[in-house]
Symmetry: C2
Subunit: 346 residues, 2 copies
């Protein structure tokens, strides 16, 4: 790693989106009133009678949850998208709109209200991966579903109002902006090099071994060179798979295992239940070939310096582009040295 990059302001290029990020490593010297606090430590009950995601409870839409074991998926009671809507354009001069349709689901990771991914067994996280795979295949094979977005908002800081371990899946007719950006760059690289952009990137990262956080036979977790959020990380399969539908049983377990490793490190960093949004980016499901795509899961955690001090993506970031203070290498160093045993379980 060029040591200059740890000292002077520079921009890094995101090879997947074609966008730049401003890095200001010299700025960490600035004063900060924040401090490391231990919060979120109260252990929750394993069952909460008022939780609309716990087994057997009634939901806001009036339905009752089954007495599920393991994982459970259902259609969102207040979905942002509705299925089978009309397909219309509403163009009026410079006002341009079109109808959109889709299916929104909620995915419960465990019947146990008190858990989070890092506190679950690998075997139980494997069930979550299995459900993602099943939902991806089922939703993706529907006629008007051309993209399936799997994601999790974890922690109230990330707009999650229910701590019961769960994620969401929003699937829709159009292919969203962020996917289009990545498709373009995967495709350009593929056409030019006849190899996967992320396979080649992974090879380089594994050789350099500066930003690697964890790895197993099938997956690598790392801080991407172009990370935006202070502790942003990415999990990449070693095989050039376009989507999670291609994972076999052994690979599903390896995916679960690396998710557990990464999220334990996250929790250990500030000894708190680490908030983040995570999401899986994969090939669209519109029936076209996407040989160039290489699926990956990203984690965007807001915390910067402690369990309560977060990075704000505001003024400059909104109007010009993302900015960060600690470098990707500093973030990787901070995470690398942490135990792989959860602080609550030591």
């Amino acid at each position: 790693m060029n040591t200059e990059l740890n000292k002077q302001p520079h921009r890094r290029y995101n090879i997947l989106t074609g966008e730049w990020i401003l890095v200001s490593p010299h700025r960490t010297k600035r004063p900060w009133q924040g401090k490391t606090e231990k919060n979120n430590q109260e252990k929750r009950e394993t069952y909460d009678p008022s939780c609309y995601l716990c087994p057997g409870n009634s939901r806001m839409g009036g339905e009752t949850n089954p007495d599920y074991n393991g994982v459970h998926a259902f259609e969102n009671d207040f979905p942002a998208l509705l299925p089978n809507g009309p397909t219309e354009d509403f163009d009026n001069g410079l006002l341009k709109a079109e109808s959109e349709s889709g299916i929104c689901k909620v995915v419960c990771f465990s019947p146990d209200h008190s858990l989070t991914l890092p506190l679950m067994d690998v075997e139980d996280i494997t069930k979550v991966v299995g459900l993602w795979k099943k939902e991806f295949e089922e939703l993706g094979s529907k006629e008007n579903i051309n993209y399936v977005q799997i994601f999790e908002n974890k922690g109230s800081m990330m707009g999650c109002s229910n701590p019961h371990p769960h994620g969401q899946i929003w699937s829709q007719r159009s292919v969203p902006t962020e996917i289009l950006k990545k498709s373009k760059h995967f495709k350009e690289y593929w056409n030019k090099n006849k190899s996967s952009l992320l396979s080649d990137y992974l090879k380089q990262e594994l050789e350099l071994d500066e930003r690697i956080l964890a790895k197993n036979e099938h997956f690598v977790a790392l801080i991407p060179y172009w990370a935006v959020w202070p502790y942003e990380a990415m999990i990449v399969p070693k095989k050039h798979y376009q989507h999670i539908g291609q994972l076999n049983a052994e690979e599903e377990k390896a995916f679960a295992e690396i998710i557990k490793k990464l999220t334990i490190k996250y929790d250990n960093l500030f000894e708190t239940s680490f908030p983040y949004s995570s999401g899986i980016h994969q090939a669209p499901t519109n029936g076209e070939e996407y040989s160039e795509w290489h699926f990956h899961m990203s984690f965007y955690p807001p915390l910067l310096r402690s369990a309560t001090v977060k990075k704000f993506m505001v003024g400059y970031e909104m109007f010009a582009g993302p900015q960060r203070d600690i470098t990707a290498e500093q973030a990787a160093d901070n995470l690398k040295e942490l135990s792989e045993v959860h602080y609550l379980e030591r």
Copy 2:
């Protein structure tokens, strides 16, 4: 306005960035525990001895503020960018970076610690506009400054740690991502129609009169058709100006007046000091002609339903693209009916 758009999920197209936003108006029915609370009501002192922006006080970098009247600009003590850095590329395979340089300034809007823009006189806001103009011209004429980003982060919710009325200016060598996107769309429209994209858009909005919040002889404030944040708004000059350097004295005052009107409506909406990030997008300062550019000021406020309930741009929004529940028209209706007198001054 097509009434279907107020009922069914749809996507709207941002003519300035080429990106889409998902609108889910049917979703407003979902339950919400938030409520309208009156907070931020404590009147601050006009002078705070511990504030590093008040006149005569010492700053964190060790310097002392002059005993300024009106406005005051100085170089940020902990700048994200440094001037006169080297210009180097650090390319290594798929790791791509380049050095960046620039100048970061802080702009105090008033010596009075207790004020915010909506509580200031038009005459005093005009001084702020005048300073923005002066800084834009001075910074923009420097050799390695090719873009000048003027912005304000208001409120602790927007990462602003000092309530003293102030904004920032980050100016830099490279032209940032968001500006490049808009340049592309301004240019395409200009080449095709030989007129300003925003002039033509404004004409259409003024005819429809559905999303207009305020106007005067020289400026219009409106909710753009493609607004992302719940109460996002845009101030556009009627004349096709590329940057604020072109404003004459009368226009500077009209700009100040419409900023006051819009921010009073904002404060009145939830009877709170309304948080937002605002920023001015204008032509780059690299010496090229930018006839296609039409400068404008945007406001991105996070609040959704009350002084404390905000919209979270998280999971789906980060991984797929922006999503909103209330339509631009509903937001405009809610703001339009509000008084133009500040709730604290009634």
